[in-house]
Symmetry: C2
Subunit: 438 residues, 2 copies
């Protein structure tokens, strides 16, 4: 047992390394927990990443895990839990005063799955109100005057600041990849439908997807594998066939994103990837409108209870979405649903010519201000299509802040997404990312 | 105000007629509620349809509705709520001792939507354990020694016996259409994805669909329209193009079902429908195996919490499904998911030649015994394909018990399903169905 390992050193460990060392008996779960607690104590006053954090509860869990006879695949791994996932031992407030102090009877299924493999649920990370657009108090770890992105704001900030090596996020529009890019970490949205949503507060269930935010690809795959009953892999897919897909939104990108995507394409081609331009058919231009339709209609329904009893406690921005959704006819919803389904079918055909697609992730760097969590459209474009996607913080913008690229694989080919992402990260240098310092 | 209307007469009213009369001031909600209470008092000792029923709570709701200034589209309509949907004012036990006395914090979204339109939630109807295969105590209204079918057992029995005009059901395999057929009522499974599942206990979320069980098509459409923000319609689609689809399971049907389907096809053709035989490609033969894969894998995940803490309180049949799902590799799950998605895409092409399909609904009459809720395969075949489906109790088997046919429309064409079903019911005589007597 190494006792000399400092908390700062532990905070910099990857999730895989934590699990390896705890498994080998080189590190106690208690030491891991204490390092998280120390980092949180130091940085939380500015970052405001946690909706609930109780050091005593964390230490009790850690000590129990240290005493456990058998060790699971995630033994001792601290995980931040976005506050739209139910937890039986911590409040679940969903970024809304309506749920102040709310205590669910049981854990979300995804939380229970990871606990079953020995993971330690560190606390609840700040979410925008009901995983929507109204921001919580979290600040960007690179610059406290800028948004961390949303809605998985606390998860992204906590991971980027070394408070925990990995955290749950959810994405209905761009709630995993936008904060991942703004905070300079790896974001992963699995293929729609694989991770159980039991115990998740639904937003727009045709789109809601549980995913992960982490500091490195290997660690994200370790936890994803535990959720899906896959074997975690180290596979790399070198020189993949890459479709450079600017999307119909290309003209709305800042120069930083244009440069990031074009630089990535050029360097990956130079390294041997077969990069070719993929122009999507005109059909895809309707996706942005369809996304609003699906989101508004389904939101109005999933918020039926809160609207009936607490409409006055819903933020003006979300209330507007609910009202639009209530006013929307079923026929208009059907148009949105069909348009999206048609695009999914089209993409399935088009994407078969490639291993992965390379696309913009965000318009640019995290914008100034905390009220607006940023533009969702580059992320939600792919959320609508149900394909698995990875965001990698490969580039920097004019202020030295991270700007990610986005990789997309065909539906259900998450394993290929990880393998190709690993190669892309090697070529573009994303593996140098570590804990950000203030 | 008519006060002379007897409880028995009110019990026989359709949902549309109740809403019409209450809306016109010809009937109080209290009188409607009392008729339900009386019918339940008379028949519940044998039927055992209710997991929770509190006459005082019902009367309080009824009186409040009678005092309300405005009247919603479902004002005063009593609805049975399958006990896998959360209710804030009633326990939600899901047919499991694990949830004995469990009180959710808020209503399911679908329940809240109907309450918002003035519906009265009458009580919680018995569900098979977690909407699965382990039966509750409910008996068949036609014969107490036979199963009512499952998992929406209480909803079907209650509606058939006149305890309420309509009830919520859910279908993951065949949980709406099987009990509807066995109890001789109308079952409706909407297109997958339209009705919000917020507050539903998920079983296998790729398949879970909230639907309705009622005594007539018009009443079912009235409530469906309220859930989906459609206008309720009386439209009839005469002489539709019908694809007679026996499915690969045809050889497993009892003579009663073979006769029902062939008789329906013949009489509908005679009445002017364009009936032609639709043979599905061989691909569809894999659906039964794929269904087990999806169901087992997703069940194991949605039950993660119950398995972690209460495995000893899960029935042996459900425990076996969870164990199979836990042991299943992600690759095997992907095979099932892809196979099913391929069949969905194939069906979308094939079905475009027809207005609706006509298919078997169940192998035959409700079997003897209460332990087994019957064969799910004829129903789950279409659940897998996400298409909307209607079961109509048009025929009788050798013991005089109901045997339904099943109608299927293309995805999202629920309006066409209702319109074509109305014509089919007119031709085949399903509208003669009423309240069954013991």
């Amino acid at each position: 047992m190494t006792t000399a390992t400092t908390s700062a050193a532990i905070s910099a460990l990857s999730a895989r390394e934590i699990v390896r060392r705890v498994g080998a008996g080189d590190l106690t779960v208690e030491a891991v927990a204490k390092s998280c607690i120390e980092t949180i104590a130091a940085r939380e006053p500015v970052l405001q990443a946690w909706a609930f954090f109780d050091p005593d509860l964390v230490l009790r869990q850690a000590k129990a895990l240290d005493k456990a006879g058998t060790k699971g695949a995630l033994h001792g791994l601290p995980i931040g839990v976005k506050d739209v996932l139910d937890t039986a031992d911590m409040p679940t407030e969903m970024g809304s005063v309506i749920y102040k102090g709310h205590r669910p009877a049981i854990d979300a299924a995804s939380v229970a799955q990871l606990r079953g493999q020995g993971a330690l649920m560190l606390g609840k990370t700040v979410t925008a109100e009901f995983a929507g657009v109204t921001a919580g108090p979290t600040t960007n770890p690179f610059s406290p005057s800028r948004t961390p992105g949303g809605s998985s704001s606390g998860s992204a900030a906590a991971v980027a600041a070394g408070m925990c090596p990995i955290a749950f996020g959810t994405q209905t529009g761009g709630s995993i990849h936008r904060p991942s890019s703004f905070c300079g970490i790896v974001g992963y949205k699995p293929t729609y439908g694989g991770v159980s949503r039991a115990g998740l507060k639904l937003a727009a269930e045709t789109l809601d997807t549980i995913g992960l935010l982490g500091r490195d690809i290997d660690s994200v795959e370790l936890v994803a594998a535990a959720l899906l009953n896959r074997k975690p892999s180290d596979a790399t897919l070198p020189k993949p066939r890459i479709g450079l897909c600017r999307t119909p939104l290309w003209t709305t990108a800042d120069p930083a994103t244009v440069e990031a995507v074009e630089d990535a394409a050029a360097r990956l081609a130079q390294a041997g990837a077969q990069v070719s331009e993929l122009k999507l058919p005109k059909d895809f231009e309707a996706l942005a409108e369809a996304r609003d339709g699906i989101n508004n209609y389904e939101r109005a329904r999933s918020m039926a209870v809160e609207w009936a009893h607490h409409a006055d406690k819903i933020s003006p921005k979300l209330a507007e979405i609910v009202r639009k959704g209530q006013a929307m006819s079923y026929d208009d919803y059907l148009w949105a649903a069909r348009t999206t389904a048609d695009c999914r079918a089209l993409l399935n055909g088009i994407i078969a010519d490639y291993d992965i697609l390379l696309a913009p992730c965000v318009p640019g760097e995290a914008p100034e201000g905390l009220a607006w969590t940023g533009d969702t459209r580059f992320q939600s474009f792919w959320t609508m299509l149900h394909a698995p996607s990875m965001s990698l913080p490969t580039h920097k913008g004019p202020h030295g802040l991270p700007v990610s690229i986005q990789l997309i694989a065909p539906m259900w080919q998450d394993a290929k997404l990880f393998a190709a992402s690993r190669w892309v990260a090697q070529i573009l240098g994303v593996t140098t990312l570590g804990v950000t310092t203030p």
